[in-house]
């Protein structure tokens, strides 16, 4: 056997991967680059004078919490620095998540489904599938980098900034892809592979946060630190881009070694056996839905808990800022001091709640997956009615959403109260996310309406969520016209604690959600099971 035999057929498999992802790849590239462009291009409008720019720089470098979140960015005395600081976190997350999910989808998921077996029985080498996946994923990361280099010079960033920024992000994506390839050799199931990849990203992020706060060499142990070492926009160093690329080559060698040690379809870690009997809890559709969702709910609770705690402790930096900055203190005093902190906390409550809405759509959207996989059939072929089956899934999803809202509120409220010593304010923060429950219920209603009447259209649920994210998260930054806000349910909820609580919009949303859900259920009762 020649050495290259293992890679026979790689070209054909790359074409297959591109054919399968002919929609996904452009969507990813355009949304990442587009989001980045709009966010970067809007900064000059927000910080028009040098004083405003300096105030911004002081604000983010003063507290260790802000440094922990997005790291020290150099050159905060200019708009270029602000652009970097504002966009950095979004791009590294997007590129890393893309690389992990795409690799897992094209390697282990394919192997698990048995499709790889079909291909491997033809004239295709052992490593061809992995190589093709890596080429397609790396290519997508390079496209994002190229897109950045192309559009960012139209923002405050220079051409050199854009080139190095794009190169660093592409290299980070390629590194994450190579790492995921190693995980794909170790774990048998694609969910474990993508889970391990995303966990690795979180670890890299945390290590970077620790390194940045301590301001020491720890940052060199994480690929995110390598990307930061390019020091855009002050120095625009290109050599740190080599680090993730070298790392990728090493990881590839490891992946090849691992792949040669394992059987097809097997991993290096065996899959565990489980209980022979179902627990009491697993006796009906509710128990079944709980079993399907509990893992994700736990992971989300932990993540949101950490997030909330971080946001809560930022409260101190707000306090510090007011104390250390007489000018700012005067400003706050002139515009009702409390309201700025309230506005800040209301904004974070909204951001966390939008993330929780993503969980809601995922959890409720499982009804569609279950039906497509033919598992709903097994349940409702028993004496379980259609409505009961779907409502069980929804109740568990809705319960999960409530739990997450409480976790988000509690972690940010309690940490704020603990750090600042202001219990009343902590309590108000605790309540803030819960106010969005009716809004999330409306999103679920839209999803179920589509599910009941036109199951091919359930992606509308995600579309509505994307709209809400753009409005809620970036609305101010993008400078969208006012009329667009009236279509946003999240915008209709009172921005507590910045605004006063009022029951009327919440009740109206609740009623709307109930109506949508009922109409959706009627549709599901009437239609054929797919």
């Amino acid at each position: 056997m020649r050495k290259t035999d293992g890679f026979t057929g790689t070209g054909a498999l790359v074409r297959l991967a591109l054919r399968r992802d002919r929609i996904r790849i452009p969507v990813w590239v355009v949304s990442v680059v587009g989001l980045l462009y709009f966010s970067a291009a809007s900064q000059p409008g927000l910080y028009q004078t040098q004083e405003q720019i300096d105030a911004y720089g002081r604000m983010v470098t003063q507290s260790s919490a802000t440094v922990a979140i997005a790291g020290p960015v150099t050159g905060l005395d200019s708009l270029r620095g602000i652009v970097m600081y504002e966009t950095y976190l979004t791009v590294i997350s997007a590129v890393s998540i893309l690389a992990v999910l795409m690799m897992s989808r094209h390697t282990r998921a394919e192997e698990e489904s048995g499709r790889t077996e079909l291909l491997r029985a033809t004239e295709v080498g052992r490593h061809a599938g992995a190589a093709a996946a890596l080429i397609a994923t790396s290519g997508t990361c390079l496209l994002i980098g190229a897109g950045m280099a192309l559009v960012l010079p139209a923002t405050p960033l220079t051409l050199a900034d854009s080139l190095v920024y794009g190169a660093a992000m592409s290299a980070l994506g390629i590194f994450m892809a190579a790492l995921t390839l190693c995980f794909a050799q170790v774990f048998v199931h694609s969910r474990s592979v993508s889970g391990a990849g995303l966990a690795a990203f979180l670890v890299f992020y945390l290590v970077r946060a620790i390194g940045d706060v301590r301001d020491d060499a720890t940052v060199w142990f994480t690929p995110i630190g390598w990307a930061q070492a390019t020091r855009v926009p002050t120095e625009d160093r290109l050599w740190p881009v080599l680090l993730p690329l070298l790392g990728s080559v090493l990881l590839l060698a490891v992946a090849v070694r691992l792949a040669e040690r394992r059987d097809f379809g097997a991993g290096l870690l065996p899959s565990r056996s489980g209980p022979a009997r179902a627990s009491r809890l697993l006796s009906g559709p509710v128990g079944l839905a709980w079993r399907q969702q509990r893992g994700a709910l736990l992971a989300w609770s932990v993540a949101l808990g950490l997030c909330g705690a971080l946001i809560g402790t930022l409260g101190t930096s707000m306090q510090d800022m007011v104390r250390d900055n007489p000018a700012l203190a005067d400003y706050l005093a002139s515009t009702q001091a409390g309201s700025v902190i309230d506005a800040y906390q209301a904004t974070f409550a909204l951001i966390m709640t939008l993330a929780i809405a993503g969980y809601a759509i995922w959890a409720a959207g499982r009804v569609l997956t279950e039906e497509g996989e033919g598992r709903t059939e097994l349940v409702i072929a028993g004496p379980v009615g259609r409505v009961r089956s779907v409502v069980s899934d929804l109740v568990v999803a809705g319960g999960g959403v409530l739990v997450l809202l409480v976790v988000a509120g509690f972690s940010s409220g309690a940490s704020y109260a603990a750090v600042v010593g202001d219990r009343a304010q902590g309590l108000r923060i605790l309540v803030a996310p819960l106010i969005y429950f009716p809004a999330i219920a409306v999103l679920l209603g839209v999803l179920l309406l589509a599910y009941g009447w036109a199951p091919h259209w359930t992606w509308v649920g995600w579309l509505v969520l994307a709209f809400e994210v753009v409005i809620g998260w970036l609305g101010g930054v993008l400078g969208l016209p006012d009329w667009i806000y009236q279509f946003s349910v999240f915008d209709r909820a009172p921005r507590y604690p910045a605004e006063d609580l009022s029951a009327a919009p919440l009740l109206a949303m609740g009623a709307g959600a109930a109506l949508l859900l009922s109409v959706g259920l009627v549709g599901f009762r009437r239609r054929d099971l797919r």
Binding site: G274, P275, L282, R375, I380, P383, V384, R386
Partner: protein, 308 residues
Amino acid sequence: MDAAISVSGLVKRFGRFTALDRLDLKVEVGEVHGFLGPNGSGKSTTIRVLLGLLRADAGQVRVLGRDPWRDAVRLHRHLAYVPGEVSLWPNLTGGEVIDLLARMRGGVDEGRRADLLERFELDPTKQCRSYSKGNRQKVALVAALSADVELLLLDEPTAGLDPIMEAEFQEVAREEVARGRTILLSSHILAEVESLCGRVSIIRDGRTVSAGRLRDLRGLSRTSVTVRLQRQDELGDVPGLRVLDVVDGEIRAEVDSDRIGAVMALFAERGIESLVVHPATLEELFLRNYDDPGGVKHGVPTRPGLPA
């Protein structure tokens, strides 16, 4: 007593495609009814209509005396189903799925569950994502067979099973019928249908092309004969006899069932050296119904009303 399943004139369309085109089906209480048809002929669609998963566009459908669309939940208390393509929850073990499905139907019959697990040699501690197709099928079979129900709807239940398990399934199916249950068995394994089923319905392009007792269907068909004669002359034009081929003096032929006596007499006159006679196999019935694109030409005519 009412039939367990009675379907007449069932029509089901998916957009412009007509999946079921005036299909008839009658399954009596206490029988194993074979449900045959080529791929894509509408067997699974029919079963899913019987379960109330799909809504009939026209026709009468009664299962255990109920309308499966309107009365699905109450009906399902009395039946169990094994889908053709078994998909299970990847993160549950086989044992958990069996318990879950049983509990949703009212409870687990512990003795029956243990007995079936042993007979089908199924390891209930494995996660469903690591089961092979055959093992997933076994999970669905154990769940369905351990349920205390009147009617079993089995859609190609043995497609992934090995011959030993297949034999075990036939054994269990016979026990079920002996206990008074009714089985609708869709299958491509004709030997299985021949050994289990008293009556069959053969469908094609969503229409019943042949139905009745296996014995009667055979009677309506031709008998296969392989014969070696001392004198072969003048065999050419015998009414009711169709010679297929002659190899080394051995004649393979088909005889119309009502002419068999006359043909045998003719053979006897010419001195029989060896003779093998067997009735039409299900396979021959089956192929005869399918191999010509025009539908029912020289096969058995549609007779849903044949005496059972």
